[in-house]
Amino acid sequence: MHHSIEVQNLSFAYPDGHVALREVSLMIAPCEKVALVGPNGAGKSTLILHLNGILLAPTSKAHTTGQGQVTVCGMPVEEKTLGRVRAAVGLVFQNPDDQLFSPTVYDDVAFGPLYQGLPAGEVDARVASALAAVRMEAYARRVSHHLSTGEKKRIAIATVLSMQPEVLVLDEPTAGLDPRARRSFINLLRDLPLTMLVSSHDLAMVRELFPRMVIMDEGRVVADGPTAVLLQDEKLLEAHGLEKP
């Protein structure tokens, strides 16, 4: 049995010289739900981009800006596995306006399956089941621009669920939601039976949903353990700009 996500000694610097990740290691078992917290600029988003191969760990000589190894669902993330990696890891970006780029909701949810080369009937079935999973079946023909933020966030999840991924990676899913939308969104995340890695500043949600929590700061993993224990350690939280919920 392989791990869903395996990151080993990953370091990464952006072309402008800014070092975003320093020797990050992280293992996530299948069906585990893990929260990734830390201040802005801690490297959370950079780490997330590696899990989908948008940023690549330096397996070839062309990438001299970092080192380390990322393995997802038993596949090393590298040029030739990119297609399968992207089908296995559903990545939902923070701003749903970036995630939803097609004219209609249907087109957006169909995008992933279409690029997997599935036949039309199968694409249709995938879209229907993904929209049903986020309880937005009635929205297929709607235009993304006229949706509320909460609705957009749900559709954004559907756009990756339609690829039937093993792992769901979300960046700041509750940012900008009103309390009611946030509540129904949390219930949705609880019900999804997938491996999950969620980056968030919403520690109340983290406490409620995620048994395990990883704290990052300045490109390093500074703590990794049971959420209940870490959230009691006020010194640790304060040292990394976090507040006990």
């Binding site: 992207r86 089908a87 995008f111 690029y115 039309a120 235009v143 690829m163």
Partner: protein, 268 residues
Amino acid sequence: MHIHFLDPFRPRLSPVHALDPRVKLVLALAYILTVALTPVGAWPVYFLLLAVILSVGILSALGLGFIQRRALLALPFMLAAVPIIFTNGETALFSFPLGTWTLTGYAEGLARFASVALKSWLSVQAAVVLASSTSFPDLLQAMRAIRIPRLLVAMFGLMWRYLFVLVDEALRLMRARAARSGQGAEAVHRSGGSMAWQARVAGGMAGNLFLRAFERSDRIYMAMVARGYDGEIRSLPLSAIGSGSWLTLAGGLILLILLLLFGFLLWG
């Protein structure tokens, strides 16, 4: 903040709205082509063409007033055709002095100008009816169906999707500027600053908007790549066109061809 007014689509329950968007697009383009090809001075044909577009307008339940208001957009373009009156023809109609020059208007030029003005007015009406009775996603499908290159259609789609986002962003910027454009308590300070300073602020805002759009395009590209985008545009196959739609298409095209023949035979 939210912008709806940019979207020309007006949902109604009408036979024009219900018509297959592919048929509508082809008919609208054929109509505009017919209007463009109709010879100068074939007035009866213009009236028939006007009757056609007005009937479609009434059928569409959009309201003729609405369509005519939108069609006003053609007015400034008609101005460009005004010089034709003075440069074309032999039969002088009127003349008036303009400084040391004398401008002479000709009958043939006037007929030509009236034809151009009518043509643009009719064409714009057709475009208005098409855009107001067809949602943009449907129009994109129709463009794909008539073999407009996929990349181009995808670009139209992205442009349309993010035009609204961009306008929302610009409005937010302008609102933020307005919120901080206060007036001092003392009357000695003139509020608003100099023209040059205002221009600099506006320039900064435009630059800011451009940078944001640029960064957003990067994030959108990442979102596409994350779902498997590989540089090739793919889309689902289109549904078949019903026999009723084929009939409408054939009927419409035959009508337009007859009108065009009529124009050519009698005035061509």
